[in-house]
Amino acid sequence: MSAMALTSASLFGLCGAALVGIGLFCIVSHPDLLRRIIGFNILGAGIFLVFGAVARRGAAMELGGDPVPQAMVITGIVVAFAATALAIALLRRLASLTGSATFEAPAAPPRSEP
């Protein structure tokens, strides 16, 4: 494999690592649920890029990359889309039912001790 492909693979691998961090940060700390769902997609994109880097590094036999991780990424993208769709359907229904788009329980009222 050419050094160029290797460098490019590493570059996108690092990009994947950075996107994982950004996505995680968005998921963990963003208060808006819709934004968290986007965060999941960024995290997913980062993970798939790591797969992509792995695939690219495995280029051989005139193939631009190892087809096995590439196929996994295709499967993964579809699953991630389904997850996004389900999450958004839940979020929309939640908003319709309760008028608020958050799933944190309201601050627990102080219990009356028996």
Partner: protein, 543 residues
């Protein structure tokens, strides 16, 4: 399976079958009338079967029952009391609410409490011990009054705690054995050599002391025993505490001397004997007084076993069982007596009080009663030192407590209208009272090794009488301090502990607060990241 083995198995299975019968609505109504029958196989087994009879249940039940002399003594007394109390209960509870529930818990408790006396393997012992402990909750909390509920709660918490101690002890005991469920005998024989010896013995003593009600683990007993209906109180106080006694007998290595542990057990026993009497005198309700008396008496049994363990005296279990038999019959009879006395008035009152008084003083060692025999039988083993004097002084305490009991019961029944208890209740009571007077005489020579005549001798009488006289004197003197009466609430130190409850309750509340904080999304996400970093660091360092 031989006929003897079948009878032994029936001792356990018949009460269980009776409890199962309650599932059928058609059979339910007939169960109360059959309660007295449930312990009969056990009674027959104790009476007829030779020591050494044993039976193993087929796989997968892995339980072995075996009868030995010690077990037979306790089994006979317990079965007799269960039978009498069962007959009493059928009359006493007729038409009252919750009878069906009672008819489930009663035979289950019965099966457990009799089963522990004859079971020979560790897992079986734990099973039956637990059965007795948990089912007894149904008897304690039966009346559903606030007091019964509180008693039930305290009982349950401490019973489960005791279970936990014992489970750990049993597991460590069995850990060194090739068979995963060894016979108690084999496991205990290996105990002195076990590296975990001290831990095991400590846990065993803790667990069984809880069941016997040794101070300071007695707090549940003065609450639970009086809270139950009268016949249930009789078996709780008369039989159930013996589960602790048989536990100590079966699981402590009396063949090998353990002076430190024996000394500890003996000391706790003596302190309990005094403490129970002292606390009991300050009580106002007859059943509570009897419950404290049970605490005090179990202290004596613990002292006997402690002395035996310290000296490595293998006769201690038999003597403790003998003392236990006396206590079973007398204490059971006394609880039934309270019920009878409260129902009697006029001309019927006096004979009942007379028998009651006789039984009560038997506990203090009144000559010619079972109490006297029991005390005489254990005397030689206790020697003539400090321990012996302490036990005699404890008899003075018992005298004082029982006089207090007689005074209270006389006062409580003074205004009763002229009536008599139904014969279905009186008869069982009389049978127990008579048995308590007769059976110990019959067993005395075998156990004490002395001829019956020795119990008549002047020296013997003096040994018994001087503590009683001392007790009478103290009782008369203490009468002046009437202010003491009622100063100590039932359950004594528990009440102090309950005052600290709000402070204790803060911990679950703090846990709840922590939980609601941890369950915030941002916190949980951060914890997840933290775990990744923790594990990642750990793995990199380990690699």
């Amino acid at each position: 399976m031989s006929a003897a083995g079948l009878l032994l198995a029936a001792a356990l299975l018949v009460p269980l079958a009776l409890a199962a019968g309650c599932l059928s609505r058609a059979f339910q109504a007939r169960v109360p009338g059959l309660l007295w029958l449930a312990p009969m196989p056990a009674l027959l087994a104790a009476w007829w079967l030779p020591a050494g009879t044993s039976v193993s249940f087929p796989v997968p039940f892995r339980m072995t029952l075996a009868l030995d002399q010690t077990g037979a003594i306790l089994l006979g007394g317990a079965a007799l009391l269960w039978g009498a109390a069962g007959a009493y209960a059928a009359s006493y509870l007729r038409g009252k609410p919750g009878l069906t529930g009672f008819c489930v818990w009663w035979p289950l408790t019965l099966a457990g409490s009799l089963g522990v006396l004859i079971v020979a393997d560790i897992a079986g012992f734990y099973l039956l011990f637990t059965l007795a402990s948990l089912s007894a909750y149904g008897l304690v909390a039966h009346e559903q009054t606030p007091a019964a509920k509180r008693a039930g709660l305290v009982y349950m918490v401490l019973a489960l705690l005791g279970e936990a101690f014992l489970l750990f002890a049993f597991v460590m005991l069995a850990a060194g054995q090739p068979d995963p469920n060894p016979l108690i005998r084999d496991a205990v024989a290996a105990l002195p050599g076990s590296p975990m010896k001290d831990g095991i013995v400590a846990l065993l003593i803790l667990g069984f002391a809880l069941k016997m009600g040794l101070i300071p683990l007695h707090v549940w007993l003065p609450l639970a025993h009086p809270a139950a209906p009268m016949p249930a109180s009789a078996v709780l106080s008369g039989v159930l505490v013996k589960a602790g006694v048989i536990g100590l007998i079966r699981f402590l290595p009396f063949e090998a001397a353990l002076p430190a542990w024996g000394g500890l057990l003996g000391t706790v026993g003596i302190l309990t004997a005094f403490g129970g009497a002292a606390l009991g005198v300050m009580q106002q309700r007859p059943k509570t007084i009897l419950a404290y008396s049970t605490v005090s008496q179990m202290g004596l049994v613990a002292a006997i076993l402690g002395a035996g363990l310290a000296a490595g005296d293998p006769s201690a279990p038999g003597l403790a069982a003998y003392y236990g038999l006396h206590h079973t019959l007398v204490k059971g009879g006394l609880f039934l007596a309270v019920g009878i006395a409260l129902a009697c008035g006029g001309a019927h009152r006096r004979p009942v009080l007379l028998i009651t008084g006789l039984l009560a003083l038997s506990l203090a060692g009144l000559p010619l009663t079972s109490g006297a025999l029991a005390k005489l039988a254990v005397k030689p083993m206790l020697g003539y030192g400090l321990l012996s004097i302490a036990v005699s002084l404890a008899a003075a305490g018992s005298t004082m407590l029982m006089l207090h009991f007689i005074a209270v019961i006389a006062r409580e029944t003074a205004d009763n209208p002229g009536a008599s208890a139904p014969p279905a209740e009186t008869l069982p009571f009389l049978i127990v009272a008579a048995a308590s007077l007769v059976i110990p005489w019959w067993l005395y020579p075998t156990l004490s090794g002395d001829a019956l005549a020795s119990a008549w001798s002047l020296a013997s009488l003096w040994k018994l009488v001087w503590p009683m006289m001392l007790g009478v004197v103290i009782f008369m003197g203490a009468g002046r301090f009437a202010g003491l009466a009622g100063r100590v609430p039932e359950g004594d130190i528990l009440v102090l502990a309950e005052r600290q409850a709000p402070r204790l309750a803060r911990m679950p509340a703090a846990i709840e607060r922590l939980d609601s904080r941890l369950r915030l999304w941002s916190a949980a996400g951060l914890v997840l990241l933290g775990l990744v970093i923790w594990l990642g660091g750990g793995f990199l360092l380990a690699a």
